[in-house]
């Protein structure tokens, strides 16, 4: 090729490329500007994906999030009032983070989620330890954080937060409900015993149960309170101690592998025959351990979830959708995750409507979520404690009975929210000690 021709070809190519790229760039820019209203909302979801808490809690929670998000993003699949696509038209994008690894790691990972991955909000936390450590960091980073499961009452009783919410009721409800149920179903209780894991969850659960039982059954005494190490796994000596204690009621907030080991080890030894055993978190192990949980065991699901959930349209849709995808029925962690996402959706859309149908900012969503009452597959959720940041619900308990080889729950009793949750401004422990006074 002659030099002159080569020069022209090069020049032409350059001009062509520059023009082409400019067009592409401008088009893309315009399109993205137009799509700003359709920008996906990125939610960081923190739940146990490995370790002992994954099987019973983390994985069902993740599954619940996935089922709901898919249906929401498709638009029109979830029953009213949640039929709009995503959050107010904007699609939802989930970023999963494994909650395993301990509190220090989780605090670091939370910062990563917020600052590196730029999530719009965080929904998560099963472990009470994490749930106490994260809120101050959320306040510092000014990121909306919704705790969906952790049970310790202390979050909004010992602190006050603007950016942190909890859409599930806390563990005081579980244990007061348990105390109510066993008192109603076995009148003469002289001695109680407990076996709980030795950390915040187990200790708070036992304290609340003990306090409530003493209020409902004056004169009852604690025969023994076993507090083995979390994940200990071998409970031979503890079971012997419980058997010797001759307590009418044995309370346990055990979960996961510990719960399953306890049931496997205590069942053959007759503990469930000699005493009424209350498993406040038993619902998660109900199906896997079905044949091993003896009749007469009292089981709770940390709220009106799973088999305790009401027969409303949302619940029917959710159970169906979950079962179709996973060939299992959802347990309470899945319900509580769905409850959290729907809460944010309800608040977002309420704020959007008040904002002239434009995408609301974080402060507007927070204002809408405070003191909100919204519908879920488990019934109504009221954000009425902790200055509008802590949810209350009713709860339910049932007794195990095997019918034709299948595990069913009989004598199911529901308790309304105000009977099992403290009033606003009163700490759970004081509420129980005062004999459940309604006002301060």
């Amino acid at each position: 090729m002659k030099k002159k021709q080569k020069y022209f070809i090069e020049k032409f190519t350059t001009i062509f490329l520059v023009t082409f790229l400019s067009i592409v760039f401008v088009t893309g820019w315009t399109l993205s500007a137009a799509a700003a209203d359709e920008k996906p909302i990125k939610i960081g979801v923190v739940t146990f994906l490995s370790g002992g808490a994954a099987g019973p809690f983390g994985v069902p929670a993740r599954n619940g999030a996935e089922v709901l998000t898919e249906a929401l993003n498709a638009g029109g699949k979830v029953p009213a009032p949640y039929a709009t696509k995503g959050f107010g038209g904007a699609p939802i994008e989930l970023v999963f983070l494994d909650e395993a690894g301990g509190v220090t790691k989780q605090v670091t990972e939370f910062r990563n989620l917020v600052q590196r991955q730029n999530v719009d909000l965080v929904i998560g936390y099963i472990s009470s330890g994490d749930a106490i450590a994260i809120p101050p960091v959320a306040e510092e980073l000014k990121k909306l954080t919704v705790i969906f499961d952790a049970g310790t009452p202390r979050i909004f009783e010992d602190g006050s937060y603007k950016y942190v919410f909890r859409t599930g009721a806390h563990a005081t409800m579980d244990n007061v409900g348990a105390a109510l149920y066993v008192t109603e179903n076995s009148p003469k209780i002289k001695k109680i015993a407990g076996i709980n894991q030795n950390y915040a969850w187990g200790q708070d659960s036992w304290n609340d149960f003990e306090g409530a039982m003493k209020a409902f059954n004056p004169g009852v005494e604690v025969a023994v309170s076993q507090m083995p190490k979390l994940f200990a796994g071998q409970y031979g000596a503890e079971i012997s101690s419980l058997l010797s204690s001759k307590a009418e009621v044995v309370h346990s907030s055990f979960w996961g592998g510990d719960l399953e080991a306890f049931v496997l080890q205590a069942g053959p030894r007759g503990l469930f025959n000699k005493s009424t055993v209350v498993l406040t978190a038993g619902e998660t192990a109900m199906f896997r351990l079905a044949s091993q949980i003896p009749d007469g065991t009292v089981i709770g699901g940390r709220g009106p979830h799973g088999v305790f959930a009401p027969d409303n349209e949302l619940n029917r849709w959710f159970r169906n959708a979950y079962n179709e995808r996973y060939a299992l029925f959802p347990t309470y962690p899945a319900y509580k995750m769905v409850q959290a996402i729907l809460g944010v959706k309800a608040a977002y859309e309420k704020a959007q409507a008040a904002n002239g149908d434009k995408a609301p900012d974080q402060d507007q969503v927070i204002a809408a979520l405070e003191n909100l009452t919204y519908d879920t597959p488990s019934g109504k959720v009221e954000m009425s404690l902790g200055k509008g940041h802590q949810a209350v619900q009713g709860t339910a308990y049932g007794t195990v009975k095997h019918v034709k080889g299948q595990l069913t729950l009989t004598k199911i009793k529901h308790y309304p929210a105000d009977k099992v949750n403290p009033p606003e401004g009163v700490k759970s422990e004081e509420w129980i000690k005062s004999g459940f006074k309604k006002t301060k």
Binding site: L49, G55, F231, A232, S240, S241, L264, P268, G270, L289
Partner: protein
């Protein structure tokens, strides 16, 4: 007033479990001077392998009593596969280097194995409860105990006596004792120390897996079950003296009885009791109960 007999029985049952999980660790340390942090993962591998094998066995409708054989088989298989794999494939490259390096290598191995287990078996729990229920219950001291507890005691006694007999009364055992006592001189005398390392590690891995396999029917096999065991095994081994079989047995017995007493009489300190024993023993005998002070080799 708690029945003393119950405390004793519970103590012995717990001690037998502690002995099984600790003996492999002390054997490996005694011979190879390696503190194997991956011991917990081998325990977990034994449990998972047992879950899979017993599941396979029972699904094919074979005699339920054979599931006990499956437990033992699972442990043996894990030992035979993982032992040579780890020792020849990994440790061999670090002999003669700083001991700390090998400790870190075993820790890395532990992390890798934990994730490998999750990759193979997933995060859902496994149940192997059929062997547990087969032997019914028996009454001891007024309380019901599962017959399976006797199997645990039997396995730990058999293991202890078996190991002791091999070490004291067989030729290979005596050669191993020589290696334990002084590796360099044994090398100089013509003992194939490398082969002994391989055999010892394989047996140690098998023992860890035996602990896991026979524990599996009493619990749900979940990820992370090995982590708890490392701490307990380490405490028992330190109390008894690193490398001493009798020490592991005595350490297990003391810890089991103290813990059982704590659970029955003072549950609040139960969590702390094992470390209390460890602290007391180390205060009085820093090398553990059965170890003697070693002259430092320059």
């Amino acid at each position: 007033m708690m029945d003393l007999l119950t405390v004793l029985i519970d103590g012995i049952l717990y001690s037998s479990w502690l002995f099984i999980i600790a003996v492999g660790l002390t054997l490996i340390y005694g011979v190879m001077k390696i503190l194997n942090m991956a011991h917990g993962s081998l325990y977990a591998l034994g449990a998972y392998a047992a879950a899979s094998l017993v599941g396979f066995w029972l699904n094919h409708g074979y005699a339920p009593l054979g599931s006990y054989g499956m437990l033992a088989l699972a442990a043996v298989m894990v030992g035979l596969v993982m032992g040579p794999l780890i020792e020849r494939g990994l440790f061999r490259f670090f002999y003669g280097k700083d001991e700390i390096l090998l400790l870190i290598v075993t820790f890395a191995l532990f992390l890798i194995l934990e994730d490998a287990i999750k990759l193979i078996w997933g995060v859902d729990p496994y149940f192997v409860s059929e062997p547990y229920g087969l032997l019914g219950t028996l009454e001891l001291g007024g309380l019901n105990y599962p017959g399976y507890s006797l199997i645990m005691v039997g396995v730990s006694i058999a293991t202890g006596i078996g190991l002791l007999w091999v070490l004291q009364y067989t030729r290979q055992g005596k050669l191993l004792l020589a290696v334990i006592h002084d590796r360099e001189v044994s090398l100089a005398m013509g003992i194939n120390v490398d082969r002994f390392y391989l055999i010892t590690f394989t047996v140690g891995a098998m023992l860890a897996a035996v602990g896991g396999a026979f524990t599996a029917p009493t619990v749900s096999v979940v990820p992370g079950m090995g982590v708890e065991v490392i701490v307990l095994a380490f405490a028992v081994v330190v109390i008894g003296g690193l490398g001493s079989l009798q020490g592991a047995a005595l350490g297990a017995l003391i810890v089991g009885l103290v813990r059982s007493a704590a659970v029955h009489y003072l549950p609040e300190i139960e969590l702390f009791s094992i470390y209390l024993v460890m602290a007391l023993v180390l205060l009085l005998k820093p090398q553990g109960l059965f170890s003697s002070v070693e002259a430092r080799k320059i």
